[in-house]
């Protein structure tokens, strides 16, 4: 019988009483490998209560002690690196290298949060008036939680919880019901390390759990990563209930290639950008803007490189692109490929119907390239979240930026060029939170905020780095005069 994963509440593994579950499917084989319970409001409230109770002692635990707990978790994740990467690939589909890359960033986030004793320092000024001093201390607030996505199930929660608990808050993770196993294994590892009960909790489920977390008078703030549609609902509701919120939504990332780009270096970066994680990154390339004369040679080389990509089960070393993470995701991508054809784009490479030996039930789509794409076509405006490169030929940088600005999203954008002036223009003018200069995947490391603009991000403080520390703390101002 397939195992139903458990919640982790107050330092204990707890079976959900809910009868309703959703299947966890290995997308390479189509097999059901576990089930996720749709936990109840009561169970969610138990996790909130546990976190609330734990907060009282945890916030007064010395900051260096909290950092040492994080250090132990970091080391344990290093020890289990390969095992964690394989679990991630099994439930999500991405290749082993991509899973390893995800765990590298997971660990880097925890590493960054071990600097909390420095990052959480306040500041002060003497004599702001005669004999009066003023200072800011950064205090933890209470119970925070995240609603995690399916595309980076190992890493995304660590954009948040290491910083939250490092600063003295307590935390609840709600993993994506599609891919709970990475978090379950992480929590099993953490369970062995002696973190005080209630500091870190996990509740599986869907909208009911998310709503209960937001509506509770005992939670302080939410970190959400997922679609813009759901993100806007979360953000609105968070406002209604007076919560802090940081909401990372969808993306359509434009990759601009200038005529002076070094094609030999550019093409592999483009391939990684569009096809990495089978196009299911929020930093994945979404549209390729070929500027001027680079159009023909770029198109030819991109198709050539796309044809060479090895598609298969991500667990097999050497596979360069795994399956889509779900049947639903595969169908969504296929429907957008259809729309591209209907709207008149030219299909240069068709990844539909790809067969992978030994995996007849996997959710595979091969690399797909569209030419003669118009800026108003669905494949140029909507997030595909699949391995598709729509190419638009533009005359110059101004036209490229005009197209980028017209899009509702602003998560990331990259330019490939040999010109410093073009690079500066690009980073100065393009409205996207993460800019790549000759970088296909502009993924900020843990010490920098994972940025985002327009419909890709709602809120003001981002995940990771100092932004995360600020999100999880209140700047309390103290003005002092001694008689």
């Amino acid at each position: 019988m397939t195992e139903v994963v458990k919640n982790y509440i107050n330092g204990k593994w707890v079976e959900s009483k809910s009868k309703e579950t959703s299947d966890v499917i290995n997308p390479a084989t189509g097999e059901v490998i576990a089930k996720t319970p749709m936990s109840t409001i009561e169970e969610t409230n138990q996790a909130i209560e546990a976190a609330k109770q734990a907060f009282r002692r945890w916030r007064s635990t010395p900051t260096m002690t909290r950092a040492r707990h994080l250090n132990r978790i970091r080391s344990a994740f290093e020890d289990h690196f390969e095992e964690l990467s394989k679990i991630l690939t099994t439930e999500q589909g991405k290749t082993l290298d991509e899973a390893r890359g995800e765990y590298r960033r997971t660990i880097e986030n925890i590493e960054c949060a071990t600097s909390i004793p420095s990052l959480q320092m306040g500041y002060n000024a003497e004599d702001i008036a005669a004999g009066i001093d003023e200072m800011v201390i950064k205090q933890p607030l209470g119970v925070f939680f995240c609603i995690a996505p399916f595309n980076f199930p190992g890493m995304v929660p660590t954009w948040f919880w290491p910083f939250a608990i490092g600063t003295g808050n307590t935390y609840i993770v709600k993993p994506s019901p599609q891919v709970p196993l990475s978090q379950v294994r992480q929590f099993e590892i953490i369970h062995e390390l002696g973190l005080p009960k209630g500091v870190l909790n996990m509740v599986h489920g869907g909208a009911e759990v998310a709503n209960a977390l937001i509506e509770s008078p005992d939670t302080i703030g939410v970190s959400f990563v997922g679609s813009t549609h759901v993100g806007k609902i979360v953000y609105k509701k968070a406002g209604e209930f007076g919560k802090r919120a940081q909401v990372q939504g969808g993306a359509k990332n434009f990759i601009t290639v200038m005529p002076d780009a070094d094609l030999k270096r550019t093409v592999p970066a483009i391939i990684t950008s569009f096809y990495g994680c089978t196009g299911q990154r929020c930093l994945a390339g979404g549209v390729l803007l070929a500027v001027g004369d680079i159009y023909e040679p770029l198109k030819e080389k991109v198709v050539e490189a796309s044809e060479e990509l090895i598609v298969g089960n991500g667990l097999e070393e050497g596979v360069q692109m795994g399956p889509m993470a779900s049947k639903h995701g595969m169908e969504h991508t296929l429907s957008l490929i259809e729309s591209g054809i209907k709207e008149g784009a030219e299909l240069l490479l068709d990844g539909r119907g790809i067969k992978v030996d030994g995996y007849p039930d996997g959710y595979f789509i091969g690399p797909t390239v569209f030419d003669k794409v118009k800026p108003d076509m669905k494949i140029a405006t909507e997030e595909i979240f699949g391995p598709v490169i729509p190419i638009i030929h533009v005359k110059d940088l101004d036209e490229a930026i005009e197209i980028i600005d017209a899009n509702r999203y602003g998560n990331a954008s990259s330019v490939f060029t040999s010109s410093g002036k073009v690079a500066r223009d690009y980073q100065y003018r393009v409205k996207a939170g993460n800019i790549g200069i000759n970088i296909g995947v502009a993924a900020p490391i843990a010490t920098f905020p994972f940025s985002g603009m327009k419909d890709s991000f709602l809120g003001d403080l981002h995940g990771q780095g100092q932004d995360a520390v600020d999100f999880f703390t209140e700047n309390k101002v103290i003005i002092t005069r001694w008689f």
């Binding site: 290298d97 390893r100 590298r104 960033r105 391939i271 990684t272 990495g276 070393e317 596979v319």
Partner: protein
């Protein structure tokens, strides 16, 4: 087989080093000279450290920003014969020289292919240098 990803290159390297460790354990058993025996025992220890190093640099150097496909790198160009049956020290050392040469060639070329990952390239170069030193020592036994 194409070594088209960072993971494929690293796994191939780790498998080769682990396989060679098994081979040299046989060499310790098969060789009759104390000196040669001791040398192969040292090599087994060296290989164990190399496997640890390779596993660590695989974990620590995988960076999402530059997970680009690797081209023109093939496992078939570095075939290793990982068994020994002769108990003649000369034959054992000659077989080991071929194994060291093949791995040295792999690490030298791998360092070039992965030059954008400085720590990996440095480690590969260091390992290739060690292979060269091992070859020199093995030749001294002939």
């Amino acid at each position: 087989m194409a070594l088209g990803t960072f993971g494929a290159v690293m796994q191939f390297a780790i498998d080769n080093e682990a396989g060679t460790m098994g081979l040299y354990e046989q060499a310790v058993r098969l060789s009759s000279s104390k000196k040669v025996k001791a040398f192969f025992a040292d090599l087994v220890e060296q290989l164990s450290k190399r496997v640890d190093t390779l596993e660590r640099i695989r974990r620590e150097n995988i960076t999402e920003m530059i997970l680009e496909p690797i081209t023109d790198f093939y496992a078939d160009e570095y075939p290793l014969k990982l068994e020994m049956n002769e108990n003649d020290d000369r034959v054992v050392c000659e077989s080991a020289i071929i194994v060291e040469e093949t791995r040295m060639k792999f690490f030298r070329y791998g360092a070039q292919k992965l030059e954008f990952l400085i720590e990996v390239a440095d480690a590969f170069e260091r390992m290739a240098d060690e292979n060269q030193e091992n070859i020199d020592s093995l030749r001294s036994f002939l």
